[in-house]
């Protein structure tokens, strides 16, 4: 038997793990990433002549349970038709038995990459507000993401914000509905830095929308982290979202989004009670030009009084 060199061996390993799209309308372009039991690759849809991202269940044995879970993940995402949630185009089975679903290929940067490029605080907050709106939409349809983090948020080339990777999402009140990973009590789902306390403790049945709110607060904290001047109001919003007690967090992602909106409009936010001085400073800051005009008028008036007395 012929000796297989290291290069040949690596090639064969790539050959057998590369998805086989031969009986589909897709042409494999390149692998984009992998994690857990799935890989995501870039493919060309030959019928529609466009690029798509395809997530493939990349486990060597395809049980009915795994197959159903993958399809369920696709269904969860597909039912969420929102500009901030990556749309699913197609679901199918590769000739080698692996399940896949095709979704929009987002050209752009992840949120952490976007922040690293030096985006201003206001821009970050606007993007974050869009994330909250997408998550609020998912919650309104009973879907909890459970793995929100900057790496799962894309900023597209037109500035659009999309939430990705619903692989561990769950439909509230539907125990069959977990998208992928095991949801037995004690199982830890999510990414540590963005995990709510109840997630860290593996209290699967305690996870609800407010667990996502916690993660959103952690994402906001990440976005504020390298900013030179963060207002007390912004810090308070992040802290409230990340309260260790669920009851003390924002009740909904919409509430969080609304407070961010107020922050952007220089309005008082619900997470922070201003004192009189802070309230006045904020108002003056917001209406700077008017205040200057009135001051200029008063100064002019005083000038005229003095000149007329002389």
């Amino acid at each position: 038997m012929k000796w297989l060199s290291d290069d040949k061996l690596n090639h064969l390993r790539t050959v057998v793990s590369e998805p086989d799209f031969s009986a589909t309308k897709y042409t494999f372009v390149k692998e984009l990433g992998r994690g857990g039991m799935g890989i995501v690759c870039l493919a060309e849809d030959r019928e529609l002549d466009r690029l798509v991202a395809i997530k493939i269940l990349n486990t060597p044995d395809i049980t009915e349970d795994l197959r159903n879970r993958m399809i369920r993940e696709a269904q969860i995402i597909a039912r969420l038709e929102h500009p901030g949630i990556v749309p699913v185009h197609d679901v199918g089975t590769l000739p080698d038995g692996r399940i896949y679903y095709a979704m929009k290929f987002v050209r752009g940067n992840r949120l952490d990459e976007y922040a690293a490029q030096g985006a201003s605080l206001r821009d970050r907050l606007r993007k974050f507000q869009s994330v909250c709106d997408a998550v609020a939409f998912a919650h309104a349809h009973g879907v909890i993401h459970r793995d929100l983090k900057p790496q799962n948020i894309m900023i597209g080339s037109f500035g659009e914000v999309l939430v990705l990777d619903w692989g561990v999402a769950k439909i509230r009140d539907d125990p069959r509905s977990s998208a992928f990973h095991e949801t037995m009590e004690g199982t830890v789902i999510g990414t540590r830095r963005y995990m709510s306390p109840e997630q860290e403790r593996g209290e699967i049945d305690q996870l609800d929308e407010r667990s996502d709110i916690y993660a959103l607060g952690a994402v906001l904290s990440f976005l504020l982290n390298d900013q030179p001047k963060v207002s007390k109001a912004a810090a308070a919003i992040s802290s409230k979202a990340m309260s260790s007690e669920k009851a003390n967090r924002y009740a909904t992602a919409s509430d969080l989004s609304a407070d961010i909106g107020r922050l952007l409009d220089d309005e008082p936010v619900s997470a922070y009670r201003e004192n009189a001085f802070e309230r006045t400073s904020r108002w003056v800051g917001k209406n700077r030009f008017l205040v200057l005009l009135v001051l200029a008028y008063l100064l002019m008036r005083i000038f005229l009084i003095f000149t007329s007395r002389r």
């Binding site: 030009f289 008017l290 008028y297 008036r301």
Partner: protein, 114 residues
């Protein structure tokens, strides 16, 4: 709050302040009430005109310019009727028009389209 209403309130307040500063001119101090009243009415008239203009035309520079013109014209009229103190009346009157023009463009609820 509607833009005309902002114009009225701001015009009235600034017009009243304008009139009150006449107290520092001893020659006209005994006519203070009339001056304050007239100045306030002038401010209200300017505010209404500028406010309605802002409701119709949404442009900060043009709104400010309109306010300046209205403020200056009304102030000149008052000074003409007074027969003097042109500088002391027209300059602040113009500035009031500028402030009201800015405020009505920036703040207040625009008219809703039908």
């Amino acid at each position: 709050m509607s833009k005309p209403l902002i114009g009225v309130i701001l015009g009235a307040v600034l017009g009243a302040i304008d009139g009150l500063t006449a107290w520092f001119t001893p020659a006209v101090r005994d006519q203070l009430f009339g001056i304050v009243f007239g100045s306030t009415i002038k401010g209200i008239i300017a505010g209404v005109a500028i406010g309605f203009f802002a409701r119709k035309f949404h442009s900060l520079p043009i709104g400010i310019l309109f306010g300046v013109i209205v403020g200056a014209i009304l102030a000149w009229l008052v000074a003409f009727l007074q027969g003097g103190y042109y500088f002391q009346i027209i300059l602040p009157g113009t500035l009031v028009g500028l402030i009201v023009g800015f405020a009505t463009q920036k703040y207040g609820t625009p008219a809703t389209a039908n």
